[in-house]
Subunit: 110 residues, 2 copies
DNA sequence: AGAACCTGCAACTATCCGGTTGCATTTCGC
DNA sequence: GCGAAATGCAACCGGATAGTTGCAGGTTCT
């Protein structure tokens, strides 16, 4: 299996978006409680609303989240597709790692 | 299920380490071809050996890679544990997202 | 011994990133 | 209509980070 199937250029930005503790908390919160507004998301966070907004835009740019205006508030929801892409990437790495181990085993043992 | 089970403080650094295209390529290469030296890893890369070294240290700091000296060269290999932790995190998010969808379905439909 | 090779350490640069503050704009409730 | 609430936009700051170059030290090979 080729390493190019992992598509580093596509999946790296997804990992980068998940690679911040605050952002990962936002993703977790959106995944548990469903879509919610920026203000509600900021409610029990230790940072500013604008910081939350920036993080949401980072998630949106990675395709992980999407916003829709509802009256005066913008509701944000998770997008599952990139999450699955990231999962497939990790699965691919693990699979390759396993087959490499198998090859080593076949080479060492008779 | 609580969001804290995703352990953002622990898994975010792993995602951050995977969130760079060059680093993800290194990880993919190590997963396919097994342990190799820095020079061999730099062979067909477009960046300097020192840059590769820095990336390897970032991976090591995230627990994703490990080095062992062998003569004049240092051989680097992947560590599967953090990869599985990242996978479990993504699985947890997807699971929570699915149950949230189910709750919504139960709420909307009779 | 000497050349070629692999690595480590340090300094330096440019850029990106997380976070803040301040202000303007739209929208809801009374 | 008016105040309060929710958002958007822009500027700014400090620290991290991806990358480079240069040099010194340990290893292998002939």
């Amino acid at each position: 299996m080729l390493a190019s199937r992992l598509r580093p250029k596509k999946t790296a930005p997804i990992f980068a978006a998940l690679g911040d503790e605050t952002r990962l908390r936002i993703v977790a919160r959106l995944s548990t409680s469903g879509p919610m507004s920026i203000a509600h998301l900021t409610r029990d966070a230790s940072i500013t609303r604008q910081a939350v907004t920036k993080h949401l835009h980072v998630l949106a740019h990675a395709g992980l989240a999407r916003s829709s205006r509802l009256g005066r508030e913008s509701v944000w929801e998770l997008q599952p597709a990139p999450l699955e892409a990231a999962r497939r990437c990790l699965d691919g790495i693990s699979a390759q790692w396993d087959t490499a181990l198998d090859r080593l085993k076949l080479f060492v043992e008779p």
